[in-house]
């Protein structure tokens, strides 16, 4: 671009073009959704098998895998932050939404663990299903990405369904929820990211 006099029509065209270029800066590649989706799916199905099929007393230890996932995500987020040439308001808002979710999840985990009797821990899984819906739906709305919105609604439908099924099957509803809310949208996000970032290569 050169330093020169421009007409008002050109001014308008420049503003429109630049805003569109910034708007198409799609930075969500679906990695976190896929990572957590597959980890939670594996943990929930494994816990069901260990607890109700193999009758292992320490079935819950499988959830230690989430700590590994958290480390992987921190490493990935640090790398992406270094590579990132632009910070958008969308990224910032989505970051806060997920931070709120993590705080709510931790607080609910601590409070529910204190309040519930050992035989009632399945209630925590229903609360988790309700909580999964919030950041998923909000991310979908912010990113204008319908599969995440649908995934968030699926979590809430499964939470309602959980009150009608036997407590041992609720863990399998969590597995179903992460497939609908994170794994399927995660793959779709990844393909959208690849498609849009290929389309806005510098001319």
């Amino acid at each position: 671009m050169q330093e020169e006099n421009i007409s008002r029509q050109q001014s308008l065209a420049i503003i429109e073009s630049m805003i569109n270029k910034a708007k198409n800066q799609f930075s969500e590649n679906g990695f976190a959704y896929l990572l957590w989706g597959w980890v939670i799916l594996f943990c929930s199905v494994s816990q069901y098998v260990l607890q109700y099929v193999m009758h292992q007393p320490k079935h819950y230890l499988v959830w230690m895998l989430t700590w590994v996932a958290a480390i992987v995500q921190v490493i990935d987020a640090t790398k992406r932050k270094k590579r990132k040439a632009v910070k958008t308001y969308t990224d910032e808002i989505i970051g806060y939404v997920w931070m709120t979710f993590v705080v709510m999840l931790l607080l609910c985990g601590i409070l529910v663990g204190k309040v519930l009797e050992p035989g009632q821990f399945y209630v925590a899984n229903i609360i988790i299903l309700v909580l999964y819906g919030m950041p998923t739906l909000l991310s979908g709305v912010i990113l204008k990405f319908r599969p995440l919105v649908t995934g968030g609604i699926c979590c809430w439908i499964l939470a309602v369904l959980a009150s009608f099924v036997a407590p041992q099957f609720i863990i399998l509803l969590i597995a179903a929820a992460v497939v609908a809310a994170w794994i399927i949208p995660g793959y779709l996000l990844r393909s959208r990211y690849r498609r849009e970032n290929l389309a806005i290569q510098p001319q």
Binding site: M1, E3, I15, K21, K23, V86, K87
Partner: protein, 109 residues
């Protein structure tokens, strides 16, 4: 008579032209500010890539916007490489808003 009419039109055009901020009424500076209004912050290479400008020209225009107080420019280091991060200031947002309003007024006439 025609000369008088031409002078009136010219003076009207000048009045409208004066309303547009000369700092923003430049192809590259307007492109930079339009890009920065849409994001929280962006580094120099990102702006260069999106505006298709040369590094030298962009550097000059970024400095002009900085001197006008419309953008903040921070020099950092990332992996031992220098990094220039630009961010629009509240004064830049007001100036851009006014520029767009003036354009709208012109197109409504």
């Amino acid at each position: 008579m025609l000369r008088v009419l031409a002078a009136i039109i010219q003076s009207q055009c000048l009045v409208v032209f004066k309303e547009l901020d000369p700092i923003l009424h430049s192809q590259l500076r307007l492109a930079v500010i339009s890009l920065l209004i849409s994001v929280k912050e962006a580094d120099f290479t990102f702006i260069k890539e999106k505006t298709n400008a040369t590094a030298g020209n962009l550097s000059v225009q970024v400095n002009k916007l900085k001197e006008a107080g419309y953008i903040d420019v921070t020099k950092q280091f990332r992996d031992n490489y220098p990094l220039t991060v630009c961010k629009i200031t509240p004064a830049g947002i007001i100036a851009f808003d006014q520029y767009v309003k003036n354009l709208q007024t012109y197109f409504r006439q």
